[in-house]
């Protein structure tokens, strides 16, 4: 099911072009994404996979590192989250985006924690899809007010747990991540997003550039992914699955 890779495109043109891999079980959607990518001067098509198995196999034997990964979560043979985790582990420069119809909180948050840096709507216009990918590579990160709200809620509960766990020294692994999860500025930006303000409006309100606002959000994504990993390690250590570091 793997399409032949567009290798010659990599070195042409002055601006950097990003190689895109799509993992999506719906062939019409695949065709739509391919068309969107092909149409963009900044992107080139690496190929697509219809199952988790295919995607993992592709990543295992590829010689070209994908810059962007578009992943549908609901695959016939598993979850797209596994593909995201594998891609992030294997290719540190690779930035996965989740393909979502609804951009609903559960799926998006789970994807971010697995290592995704954003999501694109399935119903977006073809030019918007390419646009989103390029913006993302330039440092942008979309986040909905609902997700911002959820992140804030999670942050608050983590902070609470952090203050509670601060007393026993063994909990150091868990507590180090919690207070540093959000900087004051990030918290501020996130709060405004949750209240419905756009990046431009936030930039104007806070006297920042839109780019700075975007960077804050993107950093936040990274932190959430790191945090979820350390959380997993902490959990595993607590459960005795891993030996305590040191």
């Amino acid at each position: 099911m793997l399409k032949p890779m567009n290798i010659e495109a990599t070195d042409t043109g002055k601006t950097h072009r990003w190689g895109v891999l799509v993992v999506e079980d719906d062939s019409r959607a695949r065709a739509f994404f391919e068309a969107s990518v092909q149409r963009s001067a900044s992107l080139f098509w690496l190929g697509s996979a219809g199952t988790v198995h295919e995607a993992l196999a592709w990543m295992a034997q590829t010689t070209i590192i994908p810059d962007v990964l578009l992943v549908d979560l609901g695959m016939p043979d598993g979850s797209g989250l596994d593909v995201i985790r594998e891609a992030v582990a294997r290719f540190p420069g690779c930035e996965p985006l989740v393909i979502s119809v609804f951009g609903d909180e559960e799926n998006v948050l789970a994807s971010i924690e697995a290592g995704a840096v954003g999501y694109i709507h399935k119903d977006a216009a073809p030019e918007d899809i390419a646009q989103t990918i390029v913006e993302m590579k330039a440092g942008a990160s979309p986040i909905s007010p609902m997700i911002a709200r959820r992140v804030l809620a999670k942050y608050r509960s983590l902070q609470l747990a952090g203050t509670l766990a601060a007393a026993p020294p063994e909990a150091a692994l868990g507590t180090t991540t919690a207070p540093s999860l959000l900087s004051a500025r990030e918290h501020e930006v996130l709060t405004l997003i949750a209240r419905g303000f756009s990046y431009a409006e936030i930039a104007r309100l806070k006297g920042l550039s839109v780019h700075t606002v975007q960077t804050h959000i993107k950093n936040l994504y990274g932190k959430l992914a790191v945090h979820s990993k350390s959380e997993a390690v902490f959990e595993a250590t607590r459960l005795g699955l891993l030996s305590h570091p040191g």
Binding site: D123, M146, A194, R195, G196, S198, E201
Partner: protein, 617 residues
């Protein structure tokens, strides 16, 4: 606790039995001991109503029998002969003499018991007497013992046989054992009766049943037991009181009444024990019992006042007949429905009846003098039976109380389990109901939102006249509705700010695509408490409708969303600069939804400015 009481009872019973078996030996006239002389014969001078008679006498001398209950004086002269002047100290033992007396030996006054000049006062006939004899008074040859008495009516006055001899056998063998039986025995019996009576009284006072009727009920069985024992304690205590606090007339009436009170109370105890208090056929028995006490009071008063003891003797005969009938009836009832308590009491009652009859014959009719009553001992049986029953009943009551406490606890636990299961069932119902509500909400949602959009898209396609952009708009609306529906699942109830933010996020791309400028003037507003999940969804629909209208019809360049809280009242406004519409024609969908969530809808429209305002609070 009860086991210990039972053992104590058994010991008492044993003691009483021993006392009873030993009693006839003590009561029987002892054969004169070695070196003692029993004085039986002599001369008596009696003075009754001023007339004095001299006569030879053979002791014992029972004054009431000789003089029909008239009071008077007597002087007994009892001569005896000694072979030699004794070398050891001597003493005189008088088993019974009274009412008051003086003892003279060879014209020397040895001892005075009471005041011979005053009648109806002290009574020294109750206890045996011992008079030591000064050594020099006795001489070889003829000696003369003189006992002068003053006899009150019906007080068992007189003189028994007198024993004189060496102090050691007379005092230690004769006097001390007799004294123990008469005096010490009375003290012990009184103490025993007081103890039993106190226990019964304490139980009567403390064991209160809160009856179903609400008024507190005491067990009268305890009361009659207590009354019987207290009457008996007073009656027996008389045996040790030589100088009563009342003159003989009143005291005698009191003692007779106590005796009758004891008998009547004991019968009332039996009456309760037999369960006759619950039987209308036996209730009348209480009246003859009361009559018995009153009659004894009257008869003893007459007998003492007139100094004619046969009034009381006759009345007591009647009383014995009545008691015999009662005891017979009780015995029959006991045989019909026996239990340990009733059998014990019936046995005690029969023995007591027998002893009482014997006492009546011996004390009130026969000429024997110096005899003592037997009833005083049989009454111990009665007291023990009574105590046993009282304690058994108390034990049973406390066991029952413990049982009912346990039963109560069990019932409370049972009720708790029922409550818990009811609560669980209710909770289940509530959960089911919540699920049903949620399902209904989702169905209504699909029907109003996605469903209606998709069906209108199908109609548009079927008509063949729909322009592609119209069809596209319908389908976009449908998808937007779906996204809003998904957002609404996580919206915190009442959080209007979150609702507006999500709405903006979902709809802004459409507005941008339509070339409409978007303005966001949303303050932080407090939660609107009365908006539940359902109402939040309605509000979403309402705002979607308003924005959709702007998109489709207004031809606006700018759309502005405002939210503010004025004095706690949240106000939302959707403002556009389109061509406007007739504000009097409020779109039905808007009006209905606003009414459903209790929001004040206000429309204002003119070309260039249309405001849809929703007020909460």
């Amino acid at each position: 606790m009860f086991g210990r009481a039972g053992r104590a009872l058994a010991e008492l019973w044993l003691a009483a039995t021993l006392m009873l078996t030993a009693q006839p030996a003590a009561a029987a006239p002892a054969a004169p001991a070695e070196g003692t002389i029993e004085l039986r014969r002599g001369t008596v001078w009696t003075t009754v109503d001023g007339a004095t008679h001299k006569a030879p006498v053979e002791l014992s001398y029972h004054w009431d029998r000789q003089h029909g209950g008239r009071p008077g004086y007597a002087t007994f002269e009892l001569p005896f002969t000694l072979e030699a002047e004794p070398e050891v100290p001597w003493g005189i033992f008088i088993p019974r003499a009274g009412s008051v007396l003086e003892v003279w030996l060879n014209d020397a006054l040895l001892q005075v018991y009471g005041d011979l000049t005053r009648g109806n006062g002290a009574d020294y006939a109750k206890a045996p007497l011992y008079v030591p004899v000064p050594g020099h008074l006795l001489k070889a040859g003829e000696n003369r013992l003189q006992v002068r008495i003053r006899a009150d009516s019906a007080r068992r006055a007189g003189l028994s046989r007198v024993t004189i001899g060496a102090a050691t056998p007379v005092r230690t063998d004769l006097f001390e054992s007799a004294y123990a039986w008469r005096f010490t025995g009375s003290v012990l019996l009184t103490a025993f009766s007081l103890i039993v009576g106190s226990i019964a009284l304490a139980l009567w006072l403390t064991q209160v049943d809160a009856a179903a009727t609400g008024w507190r009920r005491r067990d009268s069985l305890y009361f009659w037991a207590a009354l019987a024992e207290f009457c008996w304690a007073i009656r027996v205590a008389d045996g040790v009181i030589a100088e009563p606090p009342l003159p003989w007339g009143a005291w005698g009436v009191l003692m007779a009444t106590c005796y009758a009170g004891w008998a009547a109370s004991a019968m009332m105890f039996c009456y309760q024990l037999a369960g006759w208090d619950g039987s209308p056929r036996m209730r009348w028995l209480r009246w003859p019992m009361a009559g018995m006490v009153a009659g004894t009071f009257a008869a003893s008063a007459i007998a003492l006042h007139r100094e004619q003891p046969y009034w009381l003797t006759g009345w007591l005969a009647l009383e014995i007949v009545f008691v015999a009938l009662f005891v017979g009836a009780f015995a029959v009832a006991t045989i019909r429905r026996p239990n340990v308590g009733r059998l014990l009491v019936a046995a005690a009652a029969l023995v007591t009846l027998g002893f009482g009859t014997r006492d009546w014959l011996v004390i009130r009719l026969s000429d024997t003098y110096g005899e003592t009553t037997w009833v005083r001992y049989s009454s111990v049986f009665f007291g023990i039976a009574l105590l046993l029953i009282v304690l058994r009943r108390f034990h049973a009551a406390s066991v029952q109380a413990r049982g009912s406490v346990a039963a109560l606890a069990e019932r409370v636990a049972q009720r708790e389990r029922e409550l818990a299961s009811t609560f669980a069932a209710l909770e289940q119902v509530a959960r089911d109901q919540a699920r049903t509500h949620e399902r209904e909400r989702i169905l209504r949602d699909m029907h109003d939102g996605v469903g209606s959009h998709i069906s209108s898209a199908i109609r548009q396609l079927q008509s063949g006249q729909a322009r592609p952009e119209e069809l596209l708009r319908t389908l976009c609306d449908s998808l937007d509705q779906l996204k809003l529906a998904i957002d609404s699942i996580h919206l915190p109830p009442g959080d209007v700010g979150a609702l507006l933010a999500a709405l903006r996020y979902r709809l802004e791309p459409r507005l941008a695509a339509a070339g409409i400028q978007f303005e966001w003037a949303v303050d932080e507003v407090p939660d609107v408490k009365r908006l539940d999940a359902q109402a939040m969804r309605q509000l979403q629909f309402l705002l979607f409708e308003a924005i959709s209208n702007v998109l489709q019809h207004a031809q606006a360049r700018t759309l502005r969303i405002e939210a503010e809280a004025l004095a706690g009242a949240v106000q939302l406004r959707v403002i556009d600069d389109g061509r406007g519409f007739d504000a009097l024609q409020v779109p039905r969908a808007l009006a209905e939804r606003a009414a459903a969530i209790g929001a004040r809808l206000a429309l204002e429209s003119r070309p260039g400015r249309t405001v849809v305002q929703l007020g909460f609070g």
